[in-house]
Symmetry: C2
């Protein structure tokens, strides 16, 4: 069965390969090949095709930042002045290493960001010294993640 859409066409075998690797990027392709019942060369060729199609963006080692002292995860809704250049504000946000996500959003906020800090004090400093200092950011609304219960990629 094939899944068709605007950009990339993948079949069930591609899906299986991707789902395995999205779970563990280091899973040997020979192992995946054995499970599927094709050769490693075939899996390899499919991966090249998917990479060429732009579907694969790379692989990341995932660490537990908590063990390095990053214990406060927070979300911040940002109000931008009408006059301000949004890309300029985003550019300045991107220079704050604690900012790990930034979205333009619908709703009351112009921008919505995710911040990872060592503790609440560190969060407060980032908010007051780094974020509030950005031209055009008038007001922010912050809420803290007390506990992340789900963290995963979409199952394709």
């Amino acid at each position: 069965m094939k899944v068709v859409n605007e950009n990339v066409v993948i079949d069930g075998i591609d899906k299986t390969i991707l789902n395995f690797l999205m779970e563990d990027a280091k899973k040997p392709i020979l192992e995946i090949a054995r499970i599927i019942g094709i050769t490693g060369a075939a899996v390899h060729q499919r991966l090249r095709k998917l990479e060429k199609a732009g579907l694969i963006e790379g692989s990341k080692l995932m660490i537990n930042p908590r063990l390095l002292g990053y214990k406060t995860l927070a979300f911040v809704g940002v109000y931008l002045d009408k006059a301000v250049s949004n890309p300029q504000a985003v550019k300045q946000l991107s220079e704050i290493p604690e900012v790990i996500e930034c979205h333009y959003t619908t709703g009351n906020w112009s921008i919505f960001i995710k911040i990872l800090c060592k503790d609440n004090e560190h969060l407060m400093q980032v908010l007051n010294k780094n974020i509030q200092a950005i031209e055009g950011i008038s007001r922010t609304e912050t809420f803290i993640s007390l506990n992340q219960q789900i963290k995963r990629q979409i199952k394709i």
Copy 2:
């Protein structure tokens, strides 16, 4: 220079290794070793230490879900009835594949989730059929990510 905290102690070499692999989990350790100026065996040994310490959670292949038709990313603030068992609600949320993050949060919402859907119609169905159906979820507030500008892990 060593970075010390409650749980794990890493030095600058560990940091360099991790930062490389957080960017690209498949970067050969021999290449990293050459850059740092130690042998591959030493890098390997450090990685084993970091893994044993629980700092390394694994590696993930990153894909671009947009190319598979997942084009609507949304955030949903969830109000839970006081009486409801929060873990039970989270459990039911975890059974919705479109829910890719779920946090207990401070502020007005009890739970805050991130959802990835194919389009706005799909989002509406997930909200109305799957999420609103969960016992104890009285009300939700949704906002859509029009454009994600920053997406990264913390630089350690």
